[in-house]
Each structure stands twice: as C-alpha cells, then as structure tokens.
Symmetry: C2
Subunit: 317 residues, 2 copies
C-alpha cells in the first residue's frame, strides 16, 4: 500500500509499504481522507521521536472488524490506544494511560496510508451528511472542545486565542459557541483575515494591554506566544496551553504566582460532541481548507502545510 | 521610632525613623511581634523593587483608629491595600487590585518598626489564647490555606510539598488537616527532620518516580524545585506554585500540555480561618520557631533567617 513515513527526521513516500494485519480487537480501515496537523510537521522535525507512518486525522471505511456490523461503515477514530487494564484507563480513558500508543505519534502507525489499524472500540460512525473533507476535522475539533471539558467558558468572559492557525481557528469558533466574545490574536496582519471572515474579533498582539482577557488560549507553541499569552491574562484568569512546546521554554513565572493565574494543559478531546457539531454545521470548516493532495504527492503536501499562514492541507489515497 | 529599612539593595536599622501618622480610615498599630518571611529576604535582594520599612508578618496593639472601639485591641492585619472602588476590589477583594499597595512589599511601609499603619478595615482581632509568637504566623498560615480555597484537596489524594522550608511546613500541615497523606520533599536529609517531627511523610527528591503524586505544591521558588515538581505530578494532576520565582525560569513545558497538568498560582489567603486554626492549635507552630531578635539586632536576624534550613526568625520591638 502507499504510505507517508518519517524516519531519521525525514519524510518518505513509499508505494509498496507492507499492509498491516489487524490483530485481536482491531479493525482495518481504508483511508478516504486525512488532514495534516502541525503536530505531524513537528514529528518530521523530531518531536516525540516517532518513526513510522505519519498522521492521526482521518476518515475511512471499515474493511475488517471483529464485529462484522462495523464493516462498510464510514468512521473516524480516537487516536489514543490504552492498555485497557490500568486504573488510568478505567478512571479516565486511554489518553493518559502510561502504556498508551498514539496513532501516528507514539508507537502506532498512522493514517497517511491506504490502510490503517485501530482498535474497534476506538471507532465512531460519521453521520451521513458530513462529507469526508469535513469529517477529517473531527480529531482537531475534539481537541478544541477539550478546553470546554476542563474549564467553564462563560458567555460573558473576554476570551482570546493567541495564534490564528489551523487549531487556533477551531478553538476560537468553539469558545464562541455560547456567545462568548473571542478575539483571535496574531503577529501578522494577514493572519487575521481568515478569523475575521469566520466572524471572530481580531487584533495584533501589540494592540492589547496587560491583563486584557479573562481567558487566553495559547495556540502558537512558541515562546513569544506564551510570554504574550501570560501577559494578557488578567489576575485570577485562566491560561490554556493548547500547543505542545518542543524543547525548553524560558519565561518569567512571577506573574503566574502573584496574579494567581490558573494554567491548564490541554490535549485530546471528545469525538462524539465533535461529530454532533460537524453534523449541525455549527463550525465553519469550508473556509479552513487550503488544498488537497494525493498521498503520492504527500511530501509536497507537507511542504505546503509547513508554510506560514496556510490552512488545513488534506490528503487522499 | 525604630525601623528596619531596605534601600538600594541593602538593609538598614534606624533608631529615629519618623513615626508615620495615620490618615483617614487608617489605624496606628504598635508592634508586639513580627516574623521574617523568605519574601522579605528576596526583597532585600531586589525583589519587587521595594524601598522602605520591611515586613508583613506581625501582631500588634491598636493605638489609634477611626472607630475608637478598636483601640487597645490585639490585632493582625491583611497586607493588601486595595483602592476599594474598582471592580476587582468589589468582586474579589484587594489582593488583585491593580492599584494596590502591599504592607512592606509594594508602596506601603511594613511592620518591622515600633509602629505601622494599616486601614482599619484590614484588621482582625487575635483570640486571647493565641500568644504573640504564634499570632505572627497568621499571614503565612493564611497563604498556605489559600491553596484550599483554590483547589479541592481530597482526603485520598497523594500530595507532596517540594521545599520543606518555613512556608512549606505550613502548607504540609494545612494539606494534611483532613486526612490527606502529605509527603514533604527536600534535597538534604537534614531538611527532613523537622517535617518528620511534625508527623509528615518525608523523602528526598530523587526517591520519587515520575508522576508519583496527584497534587504537588512547589514551595522552593527555584528552577530545580519547579522542574522536579512538574516531574512528580501525575497526568491530570495539579501543580500549585506557591513561591514566587525571581527572574526567568527555563523548563520543558511539554509535559504540562501532554499530561494536561493544571497549574495554579497561589498567593495571599484568608486570615479568619487562619486565626481559627491558631486558636484550635490544629497546626504545630512551636517547633517552627528558630529564634527571636530585637529590632535593634534586626540585621543579624536577617542574616540568621537567610541561612539554609533555618525556621522562623521572629522580631520584637
């Protein structure tokens, strides 16, 4: 089968990669559509020291499953694979299992291939009226929704998202769902066009004074973004860290203590509500698609997705 | 009057410092006892760029107040002075007022003097059966209690306090009040004697694996302590930052995001419950007193308090 792989810090396209065989409890899924996430780009640079098939945003058709009723279903799937026996799996789920693997990120081949494998229990059926090009947003939309599972997003809060990129734009729309005013903050004027078209407030990072927001979501993953996010959150406010920081970060933590800021690390989120939001068309995703490439042109797709200001780049078999 | 002052990064003792006059709404308090806090030591080194009379842990006798019924009362006092008119003061209190001054820390002369001045509304009467040497712990005990106002400390949690110093020992005792098992973690074996005598679990920092605790309170204020605290808190756990970090700190924030850690900055706390705990003798403070010096020997007292492993050093007029 075709596959996009990472090895030794480089990305490779293989036309004849061996097709994996599903084990007990596992389903074989034929890829329909996949999406490139910033995490994928970081993985190619060395993040998580992953080697194998890339990709965790996908929609596909079940070709084999222990329960035959799944076969032929169009599905998305939770990307965390827990041991299913530890107290973390029992009390919370697979996302924090110390033995977990993660689709295309930790120890489990990913979705940028003709076929992928996931436990059947990870699968969710995509509603018929959600096209593949939107279903592929289920995973990042779930990650954005995770914030609303961790903290209360009050309608009258002043909220900001620092970093109007692919994930930031989903977060902004998710935070705005119940009437909260959300400001998308970027460093370049051009980066604010799309959030403005999505109906969100926008501003450049230097436009805002210290302590301007009740809630700030950091979605840049870089040190300057973090420093500005901490600067703009008010005393007793909440700072959500949504992007992984590669390597060490240097910052002045005194505000965090003196102003009693609550910092919340946030990662994977719930797929079912994400699918409901996709079905209800509550999130504008059409504007967020930049381009689509076949897997055979995947290296070019990664180059495209790595350019600044580029929206979601999709892959197809 | 006598006063211990900081100016240009140095500490001075003055025998004839001009006695301040209380303004409208303010009380004049004659010092009975004061305590040296690590923050005072940091201020002498330049923290908060404060100049003036040091000190914020005190107990005294009211000599003048707008409401004469306060005169002669033995009091402690909240150290934050807000504007009383902004929305922060109205909704939360003076601790986060952007215009606030803070006794002996920001723009308001402190308690290491024969007399100090505070708004009458900041005062609280000390119960008769609490001696001065213990009443002086009201402020740091309130700061420790603040944690319990910010997060739920569950009885079955595994909790740790990194840094078995003056504040750490109060925090450890406060976290243990409802049956929670608390481990005090230090770098030197000698630093664990006192916490063990206080009935707390103890261990050296290298004794504990990653993810060992549900709740970790960072009470060292140094980078190594913070890195270890983050290392030892479990996924979905809580890290409380209780000590102010001077200058920049460098750390790897990826665990914070991937393990969805909740970080809570924590500062000043509630005096009334602290006074109730002092009256009920629920916190062992006798063991925490190292020495007492007269104000006239205050510079020596600071030297003593600055040595590693030293417990609370008290001052008297």
């Amino acid at each position: 089968m075709q596959a996009l792989l990472v090895k030794d810090g480089k990305i490779f396209y293989e036309r004849d990669f061996p097709k994996a065989e599903p084990g007990p409890g596992e389903a074989l899924i034929r890829l329909l559509q996949a999406g490139i996430c910033s995490t994928d780009i970081e993985i190619v640079k060395g993040y998580a020291a992953f080697e194998g098939i890339l990709g965790h945003e996908f929609v596909g058709i079940v070709e084999h499953a222990p329960d035959k009723s799944w076969v032929g279903k169009r599905v998305v799937g939770g990307i965390n694979l827990g041991c299913s026996s530890c107290h973390v799996c029992h009390s919370h789920g697979p996302e924090h299992c110390p033995q977990r693997t993660v689709l295309g990120i930790i120890g489990h081949d990913g979705a940028f291939a003709d076929y992928l494998i996931l436990p059947q229990e990870n699968l969710l059926i995509v509603p018929d009226d959600v096209p593949n090009t939107l279903a592929v947003f289920t995973e990042p939309l779930a990650a954005a929704l995770r914030i609303r599972e961790q903290i209360m997003v009050a309608p009258s809060m002043a909220a900001a998202v620092v970093g109007p990129g692919r994930l930031g734009l989903l977060i902004g729309q998710v935070l705005a769902l119940a009437g909260t005013q959300v400001t998308m903050i970027g460093r370049r004027k051009e980066s604010l066009d799309l959030p403005a078209r999505l109906g969100l407030n926008t501003g450049l990072v230097d436009d805002f004074p210290d302590d301007a927001f009740d809630l700030v979501v950091e979605a840049t993953g870089n040190q300057a973004g973090l420093i500005n996010s901490l600067r703009m959150v008010r005393p007793l406010g909440t700072l959500v860290l949504k992007s992984t920081f590669a390597g060490s970060t240097t910052l002045d933590l005194s505000k965090l203590v003196v102003a009693e800021i609550n910092v919340v690390g946030s990662r994977c989120g719930p797929f079912e509500p994400a699918l409901r939001l996709l079905a209800s068309q509550a999130i504008n995703l059409e504007l967020m698609i930049e381009a689509e490439y076949p897997l055979s042109n995947g290296i070019k797709a990664f180059e495209h997705a790595s350019s600044p200001g580029v929206r979601k780049v999709l892959l197809r078999p």
